[in-house]
Amino acid sequence: MASIKIENVQKAFGKVIAVDHLNLEIKDGEFFTFLGPSGCGKTTTLRMIAGFYYPTKGMVRFGDKDMTRVPPEKRNTGMVFQNYALFPHMTVFENVAFGLRVRKIGSKEVKTRVHDVLRKVRLEQYADRQVSQLSGGQQQRVALARALVIEPEILLLDEPLSNLDAKLRDEMRSEILRLQKEYKITTIYVTHDQAEALSMSDRIAVFNFGVCHQVGTPSEIYNEPANDFVASFIGEINLLPVKVDQLDESRITVSAIENPDMNKFVVHNTPFNFSQSAQEGELALSIRPESIRILTEKADRPNVFKGKVEDVQFFGTIILVKVRVNGLLLEVNLLNHVSANLKPGADVWVEMPEDQIRLIPMLSGDAS
C-alpha cells in the first residue's frame, strides 16, 4: 500500500497535450476516482501511474519513491483493464497465478494464494475453466483476482464495469468496494459514469480536456462544484450567466445577462454560495433542479418569480417540470406525489432559495 503523488505532470502525444499541470495527492488506502468524459485525460493519467506512459514533464511518486520512469513490470501495481485482458490460452487458475509465477514464488504457495483469492471473488469452483467459458461478470472477477493476488501497492481499475449490463454492474460495484475494504488497498478507479463515481469513491477528481477541474468528496463535488463544467457534468443543473450588481457582507445581488431588469437574484454571501474561485471573470448562477420550489401562490420572499409550465415529464421517483420564467427556462425536480398534478400551460410561482444558489465561474468558451 502506498500514497501516490502526481506533481506538475504534463503528457504530450506529439503536439496534442493530453494532460497538463496535473497535481494530485492520493492517500494511502483511499478509493480515488478519475471522472470525466472520454478523451479528458483520465485514462492517460492512469496509464502514467501504471507505467505504460511516461510523463513528458513532472513526477509520479509512490510514497516517497520516484516512480516517474520505472517500467510497468517493476511498479507492483495491479491493473484491471476495460476489456479485462485475460490471457485467452490459460485457465482461470493460470491467469491468476501468472503474476506469482513471474515473481518466482514456489508452486505450493502459488496454489494456496490463488485459491485464497479465488475464494474471495467467489470463483473457487471455476479454477480449471478456460476463461472463454466464463460470463462477463465472472471474467471481471478473474481480472480482479489476478490483480489482487500479487498484493499490489496500488489497484488500478480502468472503466472496469463499462462492458457489463446494468444489473451485473450494480453487483460488481459492491463486490469491488467489498474487496477494496478487505484489502485496504489504495485504489484508482477511472470512469465516465457519475453514478459510479459518486456512490463508490472516497474522493473524486473531475477531468476535462486534460485538466483536472476539481478534487473533492462526492458531496463536495456535487454540492460545491468549482465551475460550470463540473456542475453540469455531474447531475443536472440550471445555469444562468449573471453579473454582480451589488455585494455586501451578507448578501449578493446579481442579475441575469438575459433580461436583466426582471431577473434579479439575491444570494447569501458565504463560501458555499459564492465559490472562492469566482471572484473575477464571468459568473454563472447555478441551482440544482431539486432545490427549486414550485409554489401555487405568490410568497413574500426573495427570488420568487411568476412562470408558466411548459413541459412535465414523469420519471417515477421524480417529476421533471420545465417552467418558463421571464424568458428563462428552468428545470425543476419534484418528488413524486399523487397531489403534484401540474399540466403544461399552468401558471405557477417558482422560488429559488437564496441559500441554495451557488455562484460559480464560467469557463471561457464553454458556456452551457
Binding site: 507505467g51 511516461y54 510497468p72 501468472f98 513471474v102
Partner: protein
C-alpha cells in the same frame, strides 16, 4: 528521454528485421537494376533501347503476349469465379456445402503438377481427347490443348479460385438488411442487384482482378510446359539466363517487375480509396432455398459435373502414379496398375533423394520464415517507429515480384562474394535454394502473422507487464502461445509451397540438391510419367494434410492467406 527503454527494445527488434530485408530483398533487386544498365562495359540505357527497338521484336512480343494472356486470364477466371461465388453463397440446394468446398480444390495442386495433369488430360495424347476419339470412332483427336489455349485453360482452372474466394467473402459480409431496405424502398430484384449488391462487390472484384493479373504475368510453369513457340516475358528471362545473356535477363526482369509493381501500387491505392466495410457486426449468412425442382436438380447436376472437372486433374495424377514406367508406351490407355512407383520412391535412394532434398531445403527456409515472420510482424504491428511504411513495402516486395525475377535477383547478388553472404559465393551452392524459398515466402508468413497479431489487444501485453513480467517473458509466455496457431498455419503453407516451388528452383538448383519439382521436369523429359506423378501425389498429399490441419486444429482458413 521518454520511453527510452521501450524505444531501445524496438530498435533491437527492428535491426535484424531490417538487415535481412536489406540484404536479401532490397540489395538483390538493386543489383538487378544496376545489371540492366550494364552494356559493353559501360552504364547506358542500351539494354532498354534494345528491348523496345530490337528488329525481331521478340521481347516486345513477349511483353505483349504476357499482358494479353493475363488480361484473358482475368476475364475467364472472373467469368467462372464470380457466378460460382453467387450460386454457392446465395442459394441453398442439396450438396451445396460439398460443392463449395470442392471449388477450392485447385489450390491443392502445385502449379507444375497441375500443368502436368492438364497435359495428360487434354494434350495431344491426352486421355480425354483420345477417349472421345475412340468413343465416336474419329480419325483424329477432336481437340488438344497447347500454346495460348493451354496456358489460358490452366490459368482459368487455378486462378478462378481467387475470384471465388474474394467475392464469396465479400458476399458474406454484405449486411442482408441493406438489400432488405432496398426492397423495402420499392426496388425490384434486378435493381437491388445492380444498384446495391454489385456495387458493394466491386472492391472485391477489382482486387481479385489485379491479383490474377499479377499472378498470371508472373506465371512460369504453364508457359514453360505448354507454350511451345509462344513467348511470354517470364519465360524469356529464363531463356536469356540459359543463353548467358545476363544483361538482357536483367533488363527483362526489371520490365516485368515494373508492370507487376505498378499493379500492386494501383491495387493499394484502389483499396484505400474505396472502403465499403460494413458498419454492422455479426451478420448471418442468408441463403434462399431453391424450391423449383427443375432448377434445383439442374444446379445439383451442374455442381456434380463441375466437381468432376475440378477433380479430374487430381485423379489423373493419382492414376498415373499407379502406372509403372515402361508399361504405357504405344497403348492409348495404361493397362498395368500397381504401387511400383511409390516402392521405388521409398527404396531407390536416387529417386528418394529429390524428395529428401526438397524437404530439407523447405524445412530450413520455413524455419527462417517462422523466426523472421514473427519478429517482423511483431515489430510492424505492435511497435511504433519512424519509417514503418518503408519496412512494410520491403516485406511486400517479394510478393509483388515474379518468382523468376526473385531468382534472377539472387543470381546477380550472390554470384560474387559480399558481406551479405559472409564473403561466399552462394550461387551454385546448397544455400541458394533455401534462401530463395525463404525470400519467396516472407510476405505470406508475415501477413498471416499480422492477421493474428492485429486481433490481439494491446492490453494483453500490458496486463502481463503490469503483473511484473518483463518483455521477453511476456513475449514467450503470453504473446507467442496466443498467436501460434495462426503463425503455424501460415508457416506450414509456406513449407508446402516451398516443396512445390518451381520457377526459382529451375534457375538456381544444383545437381546434388535438385528439388522435387526439378526431378518431376526431368522425369517428364524421360517420359517417366508414373514416377513424375508419384512425386506429384506426394506434394498434393502434403498440401491437403496441411490445409486439413490448419482448418481442424488451428481453426484457420489457411487457403485465405494465399490471396
Amino acid at each position: 528521454m521518454m520511453k527510452n527503454r521501450d524505444n531501445r527494445l524496438t530498435l533491437y527488434l527492428l535491426i535484424p528485421v531490417l538487415l535481412v530485408l536489406i540484404a536479401y530483398v532490397l540489395y538483390p533487386s538493386v543489383r538487378t537494376i544496376l545489371e540492366s544498365f550494364h552494356k559493353d562495359g559501360g552504364l547506358t540505357f542500351g539494354n532498354y533501347q534494345d528491348f523496345f527497338t530490337q528488329e525481331s521484336k521478340t521481347n516486345l512480343q513477349a511483353l505483349w503476349n504476357s499482358v494479353y494472356i493475363s488480361v484473358l486470364s482475368v476475364l475467364v477466371s472472373a467469368a467462372i469465379g464470380i457466378p460460382l461465388a453467387f450460386i454457392f453463397n446465395r442459394f441453398d440446394f442439396p450438396g451445396r456445402g460439398f460443392f463449395a468446398t470442392a471449388a477450392i480444390m485447385p489450390i491443392v495442386l502445385p502449379s507444375l503438377v497441375g500443368v502436368m495433369a492438364f497435359m495428360f488430360l487434354y494434350g495431344e495424347t491426352g486421355l480425354v481427347p483420345n477417349a472421345i476419339k475412340d468413343l465416336f470412332g474419329l480419325d483424329e483427336v477432336p481437340f488438344k490443348i497447347g500454346g495460348v489455349s493451354g496456358i489460358l485453360i490452366v490459368h482459368a482452372y487455378t486462378m478462378y479460385v481467387y475470384f471465388y474466394m474474394t467475392v464469396s467473402s465479400a458476399i458474406n459480409k454484405i449486411d442482408p438488411s441493406l438489400e432488405e431496405s432496398a426492397y423495402n424502398l420499392g426496388a425490384s430484384r434486378f435493381q437491388v442487384f445492380w444498384k446495391v449488391t454489385f456495387p458493394l462487390l466491386t472492391p472485391a472484384i477489382v482486387a481479385a482482378s489485379l491479383l490474377v493479373f499479377m499472378i498470371s504475368m508472373a506465371s512460369f510453369s504453364a508457359p514453360f510446359l505448354l507454350a511451345g513457340g509462344f513467348r511470354v516475358l517470364s519465360l524469356q528471362i529464363y531463356f536469356s539466363k540459359i543463353n548467358g545473356d545476363m544483361e538482357v535477363a536483367a533488363t527483362q526482369s526489371v520490365i516485368l517487375s515494373i508492370v507487376s509493381i505498378s499493379f500492386l501500387l494501383f491495387m493499394r491505392w484502389y483499396q484505400n480509396r474505396k472502403d465499403y466495410r460494413m458498419a454492422s457486426k455479426g451478420i448471418g449468412a442468408h441463403r434462399s432455398e431453391v424450391n423449383n425442382p427443375l432448377l434445383k436438380w439442374t444446379m445439383v447436376a451442374t455442381g456434380v459435373i463441375g466437381v468432376i472437372i475440378l477433380l479430374l486433374p487430381h485423379f489423373t495424377i493419382l492414376l498415373l502414379s499407379l502406372v509403372p514406367d515402361g508399361t504405357w508406351t504405344w497403348q492409348t490407355y495404361p493397362s498395368v496398375f500397381n504401387f511400383e512407383n511409390y516402392r521405388l520412391l521409398l527404396q531407390d535412394p536416387n529417386i528418394f533423394k529429390p524428395l529428401k532434398n526438397s524437404l530439407i531445403l523447405s524445412f530450413i527456409a520455413t524455419a527462417g520464415n517462422l523466426v523472421f515472420g514473427v519478429l517482423a510482424s511483431y515489430v510492424l504491428v505492435k511497435r511504433k517507429f519512424v519509417g514503418k511504411s518503408f519496412v512494410d513495402i520491403l516485406v511486400m516486395i517479394p510478393w509483388a515480384l515474379p518468382a523468376t525475377v526473385i531468382g534472377m535477383n539472387l543470381i546477380f547478388a550472390f554470384n560474387e562474394p559480399n558481406i551479405f553472404s559472409f564473403g561466399n559465393i552462394l550461387v551454385g551452392t546448397f544455400w541458394i535454394l533455401p534462401l530463395a524459398y525463404f525470400i519467396r515466402h516472407i510476405p505470406l508468413v508475415v501477413r498471416s502473422t499480422n492477421a493474428v497479431l492485429e486481433q490481439l489487444d494491446d492490453s494483453i501485453e500490458e496486463a502481463s507487464r503490469s503483473l511484473g513480467a518483463k518483455w521477453f517473458y511476456t513475449f514467450r509466455k503470453v504473446i507467442l502461445p496466443i498467436i501460434m496457431p495462426g503463425v503455424l498455419s501460415g508457416t506450414l503453407l509456406a513449407f508446402v509451397e516451398s516443396v512445390g516451388e518451381f520457377p526459382t528452383s529451375v534457375l538456381l538448383y544444383t545437381i546434388s540438391n535438385r528439388p522435387i519439382s526439378i526431378e518431376i521436369m526431368n522425369q517428364l523429359r524421360m517420359f517417366n510419367m508414373g514416377q513424375a506423378a508419384a512425386y506429384g501425389m506426394i506434394q498434393i498429399t502434403l498440401i491437403a494434410v496441411v490445409l486439413l490441419i490448419s482448418n481442424r486444429f488451428f481453426g484457420v482458413k489457411a487457403e485465405q492467406s494465399l490471396s
